[in-house]
């Protein structure tokens, strides 16, 4: 087997107020693999994901695409991780969709013309060319999610990280997103409460409880073992 794109060993993190959030996480994600992260609110899912982009720094060994995460490698690592945040409004901070998508390339040393060209290209791929000059405030939740994804894909990341991607989406929007995700070749890590969605986009699931990985296996088996279903 080739080198895992995400390799986490013994990750610990304690909030500034002293509450432990992660108590020893070991996790590997293979290239092209999709894994769902299940678990209760406050079990450490988001905290774990934020570590992958170096937005929170805990103790432990973290390698992304073979690069160990440190102050010096921070920008390389962030280039490999495409992070899609739960609230698209946090992510779409520029005045228009096009400017937002161009933000990443522009701030990684690409010249403005090339940044714009790539932004146009990715927007067309995701079928949202008609939104290019719109302000994010006026978009629907599904359109926002696509725009946010465009801003991440334009960086050509190796891994995509999704935090609760189905929040605010109506059922057709969730279907769209599931189809879109399945078609993307990158390795994916998807934190979600929706087992049905998880099953559509991933084969494997890990279950977070109290800052640890309490279970790891096929989505169905993990969901059954932790009674993680509606009804």
């Amino acid at each position: 087997m080739s080198l895992p794109v995400i390799d986490v060993r013994g990750l610990h993190y304690t909030y500034p107020d002293g509450t432990p959030a992660l108590r020893g996480i070991d996790f590997q994600l293979a290239a092209g693999e999709s894994v769902a992260i299940l678990g209760a609110n406050g079990s450490g899912k988001t905290t774990f994901l934020l570590h992958l982009a170096g937005l929170i720094r805990g103790e432990g060994d973290l390698r992304i695409g073979g690069i160990p995460l440190s102050d010096d490698t921070l920008s390389d690592v962030r280039g490999k991780i495409g992070y899609v945040f739960q609230d698209s409004d946090d992510q779409l901070f520029m005045p228009t969709v096009l400017e937002d998508v161009a933000f990443g390339p522009l701030h990684n040393g690409m010249d403005p013309a090339e940044s714009l060209r790539r932004a146009h290209e990715i927007i067309a791929t995701l079928g949202i060319t008609h939104l290019a000059n719109r302000a994010p405030y006026h978009l629907s939740a599904g359109e926002k999610k696509r725009a946010a994804l465009a801003g991440v894909l334009v960086m050509k990341p190796e891994v995509l990280v999704f935090d609760e991607p189905t929040t605010f989406l109506d059922p057709p929007g969730q279907n769209d997103l599931a189809r879109l995700l399945s078609a993307l070749p990158q390795a994916k890590l998807i934190a979600t409460h929706d087992v049905y969605f998880a099953r559509r986009v991933a084969k494997r699931a890990v279950f977070f409880a109290d800052g640890r990985i309490a279970g790891d296996g096929p989505v169905e088996a993990v969901a059954d073992r932790f009674h993680w279903r509606l009804g």
Binding site: Y83, F93, P95
Partner: protein, 245 residues
């Protein structure tokens, strides 16, 4: 809020003025404002040629003229107040009406600018004309999150009203005061959390603390012609009364 939304809606039009570069329009408006500001303090008639120029621009913009004139009239109370004082004190009606005229005409020019130019373009033009990147970025995120924060405030107020349903209309003033400050503190906290999320999203996409801006497209011949033409017209309109006298 309604006024700015209407301007925003107009700004998406496609008249000859809409299609010009925002920098050209911004500079033309500044020249216009200077021309207005330098008219003699007690000669309201000197404003007429400049007002005529504004009328031409308004016609070119194809915006609903009456509505623009009416909406912008909200700026009138302030100059009207001082005009009244000056009139009562000196009995000088000419300088009083010139004061109101200058204020109204200046506000109209800015309203017209915003009616033919989307705000994001204005902000990019500001950056291209040399405004500090940090200030422009703050302006951008302020505009971006203004409506979201205001929406949040309105939702909080609705929730508070729901809880009050059936309560006595006249409430203890102290508790109202207490609740208003509490609500503002919660809104403050939400805004802080929002900023935190936005900051994370920026860092995750490679932001390292220095801004790079997409500059507006290059000035076209049309923009140069507009700038030259409007400058000349403004100068002529400003100087005409003096030459005629």
């Amino acid at each position: 809020m309604g006024h700015s939304l209407r301007l925003d809606e107009w700004a998406r039009g496609a008249s000859r003025l809409h299609r010009l570069d925002a920098r050209a329009k911004l500079i033309a408006v500044l020249l216009f404002l200077i021309a207005v500001s330098t008219t003699p303090p007690a000669a309201p008639l000197a404003l007429l040629p400049i007002a005529a120029l504004f009328a031409v621009a308004l016609w070119l913009s194809a915006l609903p003229a009456a509505e623009l004139l009416l909406r912008t009239a909200i700026v009138l109370p302030f100059p009207a107040f001082f005009a009244l004082i000056s009139w009562l004190q000196n009995g000088n009606a000419a300088s009083a009406s010139a004061l109101v005229g200058r204020s109204y005409l200046s506000a109209l020019a800015v309203a017209l600018l915003m009616g033919v130019t989307p705000l994001p373009e204005i902000l990019r033009a500001l950056r291209a004309l040399g405004a500090p990147a940090v200030l422009v970025m703050v302006l951008q995120s302020l505009v971006r999150y203004l409506q979201l924060v205001v929406d949040h405030a309105l939702r909080m107020r609705r929730a508070a009203l729901c809880r009050d349903a059936g309560a006595l209309p006249r409430r203890n003033r102290q508790s109202l005061w207490h609740r208003a400050s509490g609500a503002l503190a919660v809104l403050f906290g939400r805004s802080y959390a929002r900023a935190e999320g936005v900051h994370h999203a920026m860092l995750a996409r490679g932001f390292r603390g220095d801004f790079v801006s997409l500059h507006p497209a290059a000035f076209t011949t049309r923009d140069w012609l507009f700038l030259a033409g409007s400058s000349l017209a403004i100068a002529a309109a400003r100087l005409a009364p003096q030459v005629a006298l």
